[in-house]
Amino acid sequence: MNVLRKCSMRSLQKSKRRTVITIVGIALATALLTAFACFMESFRQAAVRSELRDSGNFHYCFQGMAAKDVKIFSLHQHVEGYGLLRDEGYAMFKESKNQRKPYVHVCSLDEDCFERLFVTLYSGRLPQSEEEIIINRAMRSEGGSKLGIGDKVTLELGRRYRAGDQQEGPGLSFYEEYEGDEVLVPIQTKTYVIVGTFNEPSDYLEVSQTPGYTALTLLTDVGGADRLDVYARYDRKGIYKNAEVTAGILGVQTSLMEKVLQGKEPTKEEEKELTKFASGILENYWLIGWEKQSFSNLEYWTNIGLQTLEMLAVMLLGVACIQNSFEISLTEKLAFYGQIASVGATKRQRRMIVLWEALFVGGIGISAGILAGLLGSYGAMAIIKSIYAVAGIDLEFYVSGTMLLGTILFSTAMVWLSAVHAARRAEKITPISAIRGSDQIKKQKRVRKCPFYVKKLFGISGILSWKNYRRTRGKYGRVIFTIFLSVSLAIGFAEFSNLPQDLANMSYGVMGYQIMLTTNAENGRAWLEEVAMYDGVEEYTLFSSLALKVAPQSIPYLDLSEHTARDFETIVVYVLDDECMKKYCAELDVPFEDTDQRVIVRNQYLAEEHIDGKEYLYQKEISNLHDGDVIPGDFYFVKNGQKSEEIQVSFSVLKVAEAGPVFLRNMTKSSESLQIFVSASFLHKNYPSMEMPNASILLNARDADEVEKRIMDSGEDIYYLSNFAKEAQTMKEISLMLYAMIWGILGVSILIGLTNLMNTVNANMDARKREFSMLRSLGMTRQEQNRMLAYETLFMSSKALLPGIAMGIMLSYVLHASLGAAVQMFMPYRVPILAILLCILLTYFTLYAVMRQNAKNLDQENLLELLRKETA
């Protein structure tokens, strides 16, 4: 082995304690980075899988392409695969119990497309010909259809058009909700045999607002004149050049495609160019985003920002800790560097000694850190995956080679950055400075006087402490910085300690009920009343929704132009049971008795606006309605898919409210439409002929899970059930885990800081042995020595704590504000007093304990021997 490496290795061995502490510091920082990389990658993979499941395995859907043009996809080098879909049209679904879905929407998919859109069977099998069909399971469970496997159906398929519009072209798209004023123009009649049912389809086939239940058949024969939707997946390069690839397929300029993908409105000419080959294009935004890891989303960037902040802090702490270790080592070995310089070691050779030490401790520390990080994150993932599974997040441990490589590079950079300064210093040491020790002697520019209050408060021990503190400030600079950073982060991230409770409140805490059950079944309300009587149900409230058809002009809308597209529109009328209405009235400070004849109108909603990629939320008023105004309209209900007879009404407004009742607030806060609330008594007294075919119940029970199980075992399958208690519990567990992870990261960061602290204090106390020996030989007692150390600790802690606390409070406020924006809720800001107190106590006692321990070691040494050695 080269003699210089030998020197490095032996000096590392000689200072075993510091070497071990340094290796532990590097390992902790690397483990943290590795675990972070694994978690990031695992969550990203979970998000990709979730997107694939929810929306499908494609990046772009090219709508309405001529069948003859489809061959471009098989020729394109960046298209990995594609599936074809032909829209066969809509057929009336007369018995639908869902007002929003009065149709069956039939699509033909080729075999690839069945896979690409993740069509998963609930029962039966996939269609094998164009005469076979599978239906969405919700058509039975939610829509009330009696159709089953083996049934033969003949559907008169057509296109949807707005009543009064010209009945030409492809008609209304499946994104356009059913609003009652449309006609179905038949195009073909087909007979199918139902061979299966499938689970919730891709969001690109059907969502709750789309007007029909989806039925799928096999696309076997494509005619030249057919218009097809092509679901294409790009290869890896293609995703990164998505605008270029998509523009190439559509035969347009890349710049135009970039403009469109950025959400900018194309001009009419550009629009014409864009629709030359396809009538429209849909982007699978989230899948592309997760695969490319690039979003223009506030929540995502808040998240990334927080994580980056933490990582930077870890890196800073790591660098401060490791750099300190190298600097201490260098200071202790100044004479050694001078000696080897005097016998002819060049600058490079001296530099290489430090870098070799860095390579050695870095190699061991990084390897151990990566192993610990992998094992730690694997273990943590095994524990938390079951909790995430309840929340529908399919979390699996995943290691990305690129991220691991990144971690190694990041850690190596951290060690290198830490060592390079010491290496440069080693290079500059001259033999003469080391022989004379002149590097350690610096002229004081001016004598600093000890402030009078220090003398008054702490006496001679205080004066000595103050002078020592002033003298060793430089040496403790990195420690003070480390404490400052740890304290800032700990106080800043203490904000997350309130998160579990806040998020739980957001779910059912605010709503006040554990379970919500909605049904459209024929005797649904009676069944719900039966459920209310289940053993263990402690309180409940029932409500139904009816419809009021109004002419937009009869409402004093603030922006009428948004409502005049049609002659009439529908406002939902919620019928609350009397107990529930009483609570709402108390909230609004209006007499419940008045609700016998009058209604309450919700007139504000939570508006969302995107400007320059940023998301803005604000309360927006809908109309200029006032208490006492009258709303004229036609009152009706829908039963078994049929509208009841309309009753002409004039609702007198008792109160114009900003928000609906608490339990409905979260569910309907974003609805842009007016909402009317009436009591059950109001309905019975004034409109006894009105039925309530749909109904919802909100209930609290001793054991919500038990009640949920009983409902599920009841045999009824026409209902929606939300167990908010379970959701809140899951959310609480997830946020607790997030909380634990953040504090875990902070804990490790603090440990890294602690290694730094120990290194510096050990070295400094060692260097001050002579001073302590001298003071003890002059008669300073052990108690006085301890007091002196306590004061020094106090001065040093204050130097780090004061700015640390200030920075921590600022950080906690910023995090609070960004978190509130991310989860779209208002949470009151609380100064993290407990965290501040903990930081003060921990900092002071840790620093004091480390100093005290070193002084204790000093007590065991022979004072005279020390003095003799030092003067030799």
Partner: protein, 227 residues
Amino acid sequence: MEILRTENLCKTYGKNENAVEAVKNANFSVEKGEFVAVVGSSGSGKSTLMHMLGGVDRPTSGKVFVENEDIYAMNDDRLAIFRRRQVGLIYQFYNLIPVLNVEENITLPCELDGKQVDKALLEELIGTLGLDKVRTHLPNELSGGQQQRVAIGRALITRPAILLADEPTGNLDSKNGNEIMELLKASNRKYKQTIIMITHNLELAKQADRLLIMEDGIVRESDNFSE
């Protein structure tokens, strides 16, 4: 043959009113194989002179020529290489590398130079210096005299042009001091080694071929040992 020459060599510490002239216009030369003693009282500038002759400390002005090459015209790295190849330094406090054993300390200049150690010379030096039994010991396991012998071995291993010894016996008792002196003289005789020794001990200085006296930074020749 002249091996070392100084021209108007000066070293000043500090500035303005705080300036201290440690060495003033030193002009002398040393012949190859000569054993020169530099004597002077404490603070007269002896060590400063030696550091400048050894390429350890740069002069404020003036030149040092070793084998006709101006050593301070070299950059730091060339100067380091010069020190490792041409100069052997012996200090009062030995300046051994504490983590290297006796043999490793002796061979350090060769290792730094990346050269093969002359095994025969190493064995000869270890034998001559009486370090056979302690060759694997670390410096803190040796007596002062043994440590100084190691320092001499380290200074001689590269067969340097000049051996500079700064109070080589200053930290030793008289028995060990005499032994070290004998070793230096032996190397001067055996290897024709040029030696410049700094001492404040006149008895030791008398054993040299030539005497230089330093007073308040001024170097002058002395023919009279009784001086």
